[in-house]
Symmetry: C2
Subunit: 248 residues, 2 copies
């Protein structure tokens, strides 16, 4: 059974400051836990699961498995429907970021919505983008809602938190960004490597970061559309898809 | 000031069944209300706003404007941060859907997440898709979270709720859908008109609807990507973008 200290720990991990302090985060649900156990190289501290889940995973005796009642699990869950199992996992320590001049990267300038960040990580994974540079004011990638929205892609895509202007000033490869004043993405010759900057949900890319963009892009809307903008995760996806399409 | 009956009405509109019963829905926040007043042809029953919002909109005396305290507004809001103003609005009655053989439509097969539906409506608007056909089990497009995520596009894009198999069987134009077994979207000759079917977030497109798809499509992932799928709103966006790109 879970100890009171473990219950307290799990509850505390809903907050960024406690995740930073303990170096731990939560993973919830059978699908995510299955990816975590089978494909991720993350250190699992312990797994808390209902009896049904434990009974069907009797082979997992090399993990610290703790049984928990449905009721207690629901109380600990970050979601309206608790999901059989959760794990307390060590936040990985990545080596310092180094730019590979053949690669494509996303740069997120103050993404606030956990669902958007999770979806961007999932989309990056689909399109073979393995590293994302997030501004220090972007939502924490180990936030439970972000973790959930990545659908396991968080185990494959690395997020680095950096001061974006300082970071971009050091780079030698093209810096793309979606701006209303940018050039039609479908008429541009997109390079194989580069940073693609995505801006905040309501304010877009900050002035300082805009000034560092060497290749501003625009996703054309349909003639006479009155929509003002696209959601940040949608814009990221259309840009990533076009980079990959145009290079094939 | 708002009457108790009006407060009760606003609260009741969080639930689909009450929106259906009253034929009303909620719009929240200054940006959405501004779009509603200036560009939408929707009937506004009344607007409840804080003093600051009312003072800066003294020209709006042809609307029923009711002052509300910050505190009361926060209690009524569907969001963690209440947003100055909300409106009770009549759900529009659209004429029966008729297919235009020159147009592109989205068909949503059991989309459950309000954020996804809202984002899909916003993306459709950007790409000039004016009508969306939703399965009867798709989340209600007048759900407050959907309304918010559309960023005003709900006022321009019409959603029809239909039994999808019955609906699709009557159609004469191509029926596209994203399936793992589909053909590479970038190698297909996409027609100007058609229905694009998007499936449920975890189960994809139902078997019955799959059998009605005449042109299955696949969004290629990057070589060696281990991601299993894309988010439903992301897949819709990439497909819409490619239809518009390839026809230009």
């Amino acid at each position: 059974m879970l100890s009171q200290a473990e219950i307290k720990l799990i509850n505390s991990l809903k907050l960024t400051k406690n995740r930073r302090k303990t170096g731990l985060f939560l993973v919830e649900g059978p699908k995510m836990i299955s990816e975590l156990i089978n494909y991720a190289n993350f250190e699992i501290k312990f797994i808390a699961a209902n009896k049904k889940w434990i009974d069907s995973h009797s082979d997992l005796n090399n993990f610290a498995l703790k049984e928990i009642s449905e009721n207690a699990l629901q109380k600990l869950s970050n979601f309206s429907t608790a999901n059989e199992v959760l794990a307390v996992v060590k936040i990985p320590e990545y080596q310092e970021f180094t730019t590979n001049i053949d690669s494509l990267y996303l740069v997120l300038d103050n993404i606030q919505d956990p669902g958007n960040l999770g979806t961007i990580i999932r989309t990056a994974d689909w399109f073979g983008i393995k590293q994302i540079i997030c501004s220090t004011d972007t939502v924490d990638c180990f936030n439970p809602k972000v973790v959930q929205a990545t659908m396991g892609s968080l185990f494959r895509v690395k997020c680095y938190y950096e001061d974006i202007p300082t970071f971009l000033k050091k780079q030698q490869i093209p810096i793309y960004g979606t701006l209303l004043s940018g050039k039609n993405i479908y008429e541009e010759n997109l390079s194989q490597s580069g940073f693609i900057v995505i801006g905040n949900e309501s304010k877009g890319i900050s002035q300082e970061v805009q000034s560092l963009i060497t290749r501003p892009l625009f996703i054309p809307n349909y003639s006479q559309s009155k929509a003002e903008s696209l959601n940040a995760s949608i814009a990221s996806a259309i840009v990533c898809a076009e980079f990959r399409r145009s290079q094939n």
